[in-house]
Symmetry: C2
Subunit: 348 residues, 2 copies
Amino acid sequence: MRHAPLNTPAERAATEPGATVADLGERAIIARIRERLPSDPAWAVVGIGDDAAVIEPPRGALEVLTTDGLVEGIHFDRRFSRPSDIGWKALAVNVSDVAAMGGAPRAALLSLVLPPSFTIDALDELIDGFAALAREARITLAGGNITRSPGPLVIDVTLTGSVRRRDLLRRAGAQPGDGVFVTGSVGAGLAGLEWLRSAESGIEGMDASVERYRRPMPRFRIGAVLGRARVASACMDLSDGLADAARQITDASHVGIRIAAESLPVDDGARNWFETHGRDAAAAAASGGDDYELLFTVPRKRAGRLRHVRQHARGVPITRIGEITSERDAVLVRDGKPEPLPPGFVHF
Amino acid sequence: MRHAPLNTPAERAATEPGATVADLGERAIIARIRERLPSDPAWAVVGIGDDAAVIEPPRGALEVLTTDGLVEGIHFDRRFSRPSDIGWKALAVNVSDVAAMGGAPRAALLSLVLPPSFTIDALDELIDGFAALAREARITLAGGNITRSPGPLVIDVTLTGSVRRRDLLRRAGAQPGDGVFVTGSVGAGLAGLEWLRSAESGIEGMDASVERYRRPMPRFRIGAVLGRARVASACMDLSDGLADAARQITDASHVGIRIAAESLPVDDGARNWFETHGRDAAAAAASGGDDYELLFTVPRKRAGRLRHVRQHARGVPITRIGEITSERDAVLVRDGKPEPLPPGFVHF
């Protein structure tokens, strides 16, 4: 298809340097997106190109449904994120939500609100970023919508997933005495963005943190294994930060939480960044958003099953950072002294 | 809940005249939306308030998935549409897509991108408009997302539905000799918008057309019955106009179409509007968008089953407007003379 003669004005326009989506039109944009994505699995009965997509629902399982989006000027800045990062991240934030329910992602819908000045090259890159994570997490793009924007670029993604009823992970369910665990590391989301905004040089080791801000890896494998192994009593992702997630779990479960600052797995670059600026690394990392790790609680008698989860985590660390308590408060313990957990990340 | 004492700053702020969504914050907005919607059915296992919604998928049926949205300045103008109209229409455009597949709508996700200046009163009205159609079409709001907008109001809706495999209606499937039918009437979407933009007075009978532009009624009952009765060989909704739908069906089915201008059920107010301005009512109505009727084709031997569909149409007319042909062109026949069908509505 891509090497066929250029027949339509839209196809010819797309070859001009600096050509924009306004030169292409909706149908040519859709055709271009389809070309860049893997073909549909057998359970996708009707894919892109009819009034709606039609899929076979997961068999013997429940369906997880989530929607989340990125808005230019609110969630990203095109000076700091490449189009491919934006496409990746728009899918990643949804994958993270499905993982936090113990589900496995399946089908996505992509809704693009595009400024007419958005170039075709940028569109291609955005789709390639989306497709890269879709391939990795075995997600099918089942449909979507394209519309013109009078201002910001907006990318809204809907993602479905499947989860067996008994594997479902909720925010409610944590009990006093349960251990509190977090995947990966925290703080890179906040530190990476702060570094990009400050344009400071001379601080070593920030590249990896910035890359994690731009292109977070949602924990879809760990989420699905956590569900199947039935090890967690509650689970949530860190999209609005660890402090926020901790409060959401304690509110939903009617319990308290005590987190040991020393045990927080703060990203190396982020720790360096925060400490260079005289801030406490644990408190800063706990209050920042955009990390997309999983926070979960494990009853003592199920702690042995964590070994199975770690075997499937492909080297991603799973760290015990505290304990659920019966007091209804959220506490960060530093040098043996308790203090209130910092406020979470507010994005509205 | 709504008459309980006002405890939080957000709840108190919401009582001030002219208070905006920025005074409320995300969680209070979500709580407010939940209050205004009916409670969840048994198949909604996890509703609003966790990382993602979880539903029981339709049993013994396929799942329909669609997403469509309204962008301020592109799809609506707040001078012409009330917030409740915008909420209704954002759901209606999706219901129309599910109906066009022969499906019955089930669960919606609502993604709101709100300017900080959007008032709480306007938000309440928007949700009430959405809820009014949700109740009518028995749709559950399973989840969604709220984010701040740096500019326009954007409402993106995802809708799921169910359809049995054998009842599925596609754009492909029309055969030469099939009759072409349309539900309701056409032209009100275009004429209503033109009247609002022109602010002309002195033209009678436009109120109903304007109301149909503002608050279109998607044909969800007829779509589901068309599917179950297995009467249609192809089907599509008219969101981008009748001419566009006719071309999409003929392209997907590799056939042609011949439509009789005299038989088109043009909305009364729209006909008056177009003719007052010296335009051909049939051609104008066929090229305009925003009508949300269904266009479908029926093989001759199944035409008898249309009686069953009409019985379930609750008085909505179903009109035969033409025939599928083996020539690969789209023709409008006026006064016995064929002419090319006008171009469809282009919204990108």
